[in-house]
Symmetry: C2
Subunit: 179 residues, 2 copies
Amino acid sequence: MSNPGATNPPVTEPLCAPIGEGNEIDFEIIELLFFAYRDFISDPDAILETYGFGRAHHRVVHFVNREPGLTVAALLDTLKITKQSLARVLKQLVEGGYIHQVAGPEDRRQRKLYPTRKGRDLALALARPQSRRIAEAFTALDTADRQSVVRFLKGMIDHETPGTVDSGKTEGAGGEAAI
Amino acid sequence: MSNPGATNPPVTEPLCAPIGEGNEIDFEIIELLFFAYRDFISDPDAILETYGFGRAHHRVVHFVNREPGLTVAALLDTLKITKQSLARVLKQLVEGGYIHQVAGPEDRRQRKLYPTRKGRDLALALARPQSRRIAEAFTALDTADRQSVVRFLKGMIDHETPGTVDSGKTEGAGGEAAI
DNA sequence: CAAAATATGTCAACATAACTGACATATTCG
DNA sequence: CGAATATGTCAGTTATGTTGACATATTTTG
């Protein structure tokens, strides 16, 4: 079927030239983001493994520490996962004494989430190597350069026009999020 | 003097203060990276779904396009997964006509991987929205600022000490292709 | 040349973390 | 009271990774 020296290459004929030569695609940044992020999460991942935890636990512990008292619904909205997905890791974190659940003072249906001292220590232990990595990457940059990085990262984030997202349902599509 | 009110708070008592106030941790960049990367991969993920593909397929298609003719072993080394994991997605991509396998010209045990036209089109379709997002985030930055972003991202990547891997060949130019 | 090493493929079982759907319970609201 | 809401839970599915064992073809080596 394949003929070396065929005159009319079909879509299944192999291409030998690398992609992105003379293309409009910014492959440099695409790949830098891939590798930077992969190495960025490798540090906490190594720590999590010693606890028997995974990325999902990191995300939950992180955001509960960043916003103590947030509700399950708010956490689901931030993580953009389903409550069934959250339930598993949250249960482990609560039973392990990392997170405390308190019935809402006004709406007692709510479960407000607070970190414990143990949970805070874990969040800090996970963030520390990440922050160190950032600091190292920043050593070559002055204050103005660092602000450029912040502006770039903010520009990479979806600017959700408030009003387009109908917050009627709690079970939404999930992505492959990661912290 | 450690605690007003309660006498001796155990590690399981809830904390109300947000983490990272007056801490040495750079939570701003940590979270910006999280959200930026999540949204960054959401674009290709939506496209992949229409093909019945996932992130693993994107990675394989990307690398094969960036370095046509790379071997299975080289791909495994880049992706840092097992051959059993790769086999599943690679089989789908080969059977779908996105990637072509050719026995190595010198070492016929090797299977050199090449993108087909179809595979190249897919790789471009996946990279295009990512590149567009980068371009948008760059609009607020001049050339010097963009170089700062590149320097930052490179600084975030693990600098593998080239001593563990002995590669005495003149090929491994710094900044090799990869997603 | 025969044996060992290498590159790849494959079968099977398992783990994690996401998903959907259905249903239970407690609480608040109209 | 009945409907809506916030949360929890059970059951099954999918995608992607893992380990271990073994097969096959090819190259290298003793």
